[in-house]
Amino acid sequence: MILALHDFWSAHGCLILQPYDMRMGAGTFHTATTLRALGPEPWNAAFVQPCRRPTDGRYGENPNRLQHYYQYQVILKPSPSDIQELYLKSLEVIGIDPLKHDIRFVEDDWESPTLGAWGLGWEVWCDGMEVTQFTYFQQMGGFDCKPVAGELTYGLERLAMYIQGVDNVYDLDFNGRGVSYGEVFLENERQMSKWNFEVADTDALFDLFNKAEAECKNALAGDVPIAAYEQAVEASHIFNLLQARGVISVQERASYMARVRDLARGSCEKHMELKKDEWAEKFPEWSA
């Protein structure tokens, strides 16, 4: 399935990239999405990104909720006028026939308070199941996206469940030779759910959060916004772990989110600052 998507999007002008080697909540955090959504340069890329959502852990007991899963992400900047048609063709490529399955674009505006980003779009339903998040980025890191990028995020496990016709993610056939998804990941889900919810040392996590925040600021001062951004991603994930451990109160939650947002924004701002002269020169119609 991943290979079919790679072939399809590569044929449509996308660079095929590899996953970012950090723990993150969504493919959107990959620098190929966030930082590349800024500025005027055209950018078309596709990649797989493993995602971690500690609060979605279900100890392996829910048929389609996981604290660790895979997204397939496509970013197209500027958004092409036939982006919906391209997307639908990509579904056919992986075996979803829109005359057999009910495909729908249902309003779902996207906002990432921790990235200072938002966009409008849909969740794409296949027979009632959300299989893709489809977003036209309007802002990233607090900056207007000029031009707007279209982002497609496929939920790979869900699509695979559809195509293979299985009810439970752990029953997915992993290799066509008898190895199931459960054999690969079930134990991982059980242990990681337990760690996320019950075991993780919260004092150490608070400490890590503060250290990531400090290091982000240090990197910004050193004019290396990509490194600073990595620390923002780290802080964001640590925050999610603290949430799963239930040690952040409702009032504190907003303030932690604001801290992460400040890091992400600061990184985007520095990135813009370093690039803007080059961009303005290459794209006279663009302005920061």
Binding site: P80, L99, K100, H101, V106, E107, M129, P147, S249
Partner: protein
């Protein structure tokens, strides 16, 4: 006469915005046509997820020619003034006419605006409509969005069809050119459709699997869902909001019924209905009044095999229900009392402490209210129920579905065996929400509900956060109205002044007066809405000092009945006459209740004596009736004054030349007035 068709095609428009978009399209179209002087006939506006369409029938092909005259400067005015006038009106000097205005020759410009082709007007109107179209949220897209000045639309705008009869109304906006070509159903139709005119638009789309009339789609869903349920031997749980939403998500709706596993029915039915409706937009069904294991989804395709679509939807619902069951199971692993500990981490309001603090206060108050009004022995149960009433706020289920607050607490309480009275109190303590909601009557529920609301009111009034104008961020008006309904409906005897004073002391507040005034205002509004005469409410309120709402309303209602009788209106007439005389004579004898029979220095006239005797009898009778809260009795006692006061005015001269007689008779009228005032301030009563 011509027919005009406009279709604005876009990527999927959110269902919830389509109604507003239809209204916006019609409003802007009317605005443009009005401005150009185009008379409009019948207008039809339709929407689907992928298009907004407007059809205007019987449009003129030309606008009327308009001739206007403008009066200019008098002949012989400076050239500068005349030239300026010409410029302003777009005429040359030799086109000016000279006419006589009151003997002065004056320049006139005649401006003839010829009729315009309506097609031309429309070609200008369409870009203006698109430019000015207001969406709740809009976006930029594509290469043009390198500038923030690029077009904004709800989702990318992809095409414009504009036809005046069979001719394209040519226009262009932001790189989109109008034409006569559109697209059909996303999957059931390939390629483009050429529209002939407004007349074949709906039919051509129908051939391409698009039902453009939203009402027709709604109807298909409404009747189709009901039939699907019926065919399965079930009853559809009707939901008009879902009908409209599904019609906004489909161009070719096909309702399909599916089943889910029976096991999920052990989860509270409200959670199943909510997750089906909110997350999946499915209808649910009942069998014999109980939720059945069935759902109805609305597909947007005529699927090759509908069972495949149903099966897919069933799996998704199963996963959702599995989540609900997970929450239900996890939440029940802890008691509500254990959950309630989590409330210590939730701020109620920064100046009013945590929710845990709040439920503790509510507990005391609920206990006290219970002991005051119900069984003394229920006090502890009330305190317990109050202590647990907000515990479900920290459960997983309410975290996922906030609208289930209260309800889930009730389920969890019952599941852990806390007893029905406590469980009901937890479940229903938010009630009544609004004036048409059911009003609780079970003692524990009433006590917890009232205590919760009084605590909220007392708290916010203590920190000066009373509502101002239209701003009522803490919904205090609703809390006060709900309190009034609870007190009234259950005949609760609560001295609000003392209860609130005592409760507000916990917040360091000295006087509950502002809150009592607020209650009085809310009560007036509520009674007025309930059809009680506004002046009668004022007449009772003007007495002041009453903080027992039940007693106060009993008085208002007795007065309302009394004023509907002949005795009432006549007594009011006598009262007004007495009151006018006292006012005119500026007679203000505060001691006028005194028995003046013995102090008279003269022999009273018959009618005078009769009034004195009647007052001697009626005054104490009314007083004692009021004492025992028999307001009808008090009114009846006053009614006995009606003929003596009429007789008195007929036969006795108040303004006697003898100063003693005059004083005594004015005193007598003042005494009459005071007697009446025991019941209500009649001066506030109209009529």
């Amino acid at each position: 006469m011509s027919n005009f068709l406009l279709e604005l095609r876009s990527e999927e428009i959110p269902a919830r915005m389509q109604k507003g978009a239809r209204a916006e399209l019609e409003k802007l179209f009317r605005r443009e046509m009005d401005a150009a002087g185009v008379a409009l006939g019948e207008l039809t506006v339709w929407s689907t997820p992928r298009r907004l369409a407007l059809i205007a029938r019987d449009l003129p092909t030309q606008t009327d020619a308009v001739s206007e005259e403008a009066k200019g400067p008098p002949e012989g005015a400076p050239d500068q003034a005349v030239d300026g006038f010409c410029r302003k009106n777009g005429v040359s000097r030799d086109q000016l006419e000279v006419r006589d205005v009151k003997g002065r020759p004056t320049y006139f410009a005649v401006i003839n605006t010829p009729g315009r082709a309506v097609a031309e007007v429309l070609a200008e109107a369409i870009p203006a409509i698109i430019r000015d179209f207001s969406w709740p949220k809009s976006q930029r897209w594509g290469a043009a969005s390198i500038s923030t000045e690029s077009l904004r639309w709800v989702r990318p705008l992809s095409g414009i069809v504009a036809l005046m009869d069979g001719d394209v109304v040519a226009c262009e906006t932001h790189g989109i050119t109008s034409g006569n070509v559109t697209k059909g159903h996303r999957f059931h139709h390939n390629g483009e459709i050429t529209i002939g005119s407004a007349d074949d638009y709906a039919a051509k789309l129908r051939d391409a699997h698009v039902i453009v009339d939203h009402e027709e789609r709604q109807n298909i869903i409404r009747t189709g869902a009901a039939k699907a349920a019926q065919d399965a031997g079930l009853d559809l749980v009707e939901d008009e909001g879902l009908v409209i939403e599904n019609a906004g998500l489909t161009e070719w709706p096909v309702p399909l019924l599916g089943r889910f596993e029976d096991d999920f029915l052990e989860v509270p039915p409200e959670t199943i209905q909510l997750t089906a409706r909110v997350n999946q937009k499915y209808f649910v069904c009942e069998k014999d009044g109980k939720l059945a294991n069935a759902f109805i989804c609305t597909s947007n395709i005529e699927a090759e095999d509908p069972a495949v679509v149903v099966e897919g939807n069933r799996k998704v619902l199963a996963a959702r229900l599995s989540d609900a069951k997970f929450f239900w199971d996890v939440d029940r692993k802890k008691t509500l009392a254990e959950h309630a500990k989590g409330l210590e981490r939730i701020t109620f309001h920064e100046k009013l402490g945590t929710v845990a603090d709040k439920v503790e206060r509510v507990g005391w108050l609920a206990k006290w209210l219970t002991q005051l009004n119900f069984d003394h022995g229920l006090g502890d149960a009330a305190e317990k129920a109050a202590g647990l009433c907000k515990a479900d706020l920290v459960t997983e289920m309410v975290g996922e579905f906030p609208e289930l607050q209260g309800l889930m607490g009730g389920y969890y309480a019952r599941a852990e065996g806390l007893g029905d009275a406590v469980a009901d109190a937890i479940r229903d303590h938010y009630k009544p929400i609004g004036k048409s909601d059911e009003i609780p009557t079970a003692p524990l529920t009433v006590a917890v509900s009232l205590a919760d609301k009084l605590d909220t009111l007392a708290g916010f009034f203590s920190i000066d956060a009373a509502p101002t104008g239209s701003k009522d961020p803490f919904a205090l008006r609703r809390a006060a109205l709900s309190s009034i309904l609870l007190i009234q409906h259950n005949n609760l005897r609560v001295g609000l002044a003392s209860v609130l004073e005592r409760h507000m002391r916990q917040f360091g507040s000295e006087s509950p007066q502002k809150l009592l005034d607020f209650f009085a205002d809310r009560l007036k509004v509520q009674q007025r809405d309930a059809g009680v005469r506004h002046d009668l409410i004022d007449a009772v309120f003007a007495l002041g000092g009453e903080d027992d709402l039940v007693r106060l309303l009993a008085r208002v209602h007795a007065l309302q009945s009394f004023m509907a009788t002949e005795d009432g209106t006549n007594l009011l007439a006598g009262y007004k006459r007495a009151s006018n005389i006292l006012k005119k004579e500026e007679w203000d004898n505060s001691d006028s209740t005194a028995d003046n029979n013995n102090s008279l220095s003269y022999a009273p006239e018959t009618s005078e004596k009769a009034l004195i005797d009647a007052l001697d009898a009626a005054g104490p009778k009314a007083a004692s009736a009021i004492e025992s809260e028999d307001f009808e009795g008090a009114m009846a006692a006053l009614a006995s004054l009606r003929s003596p006061i009429d007789e008195f005015f007929d036969h006795v001269t108040v303004n006697d030349s003898d100063a003693d007689k005059r004083a005594a008779r004015l005193d007598l009228l003042a005494r009459f007035r005071s007697a009446v005032h025991q019941v209500a301030d009649f001066s506030r009563i109209e009529g």
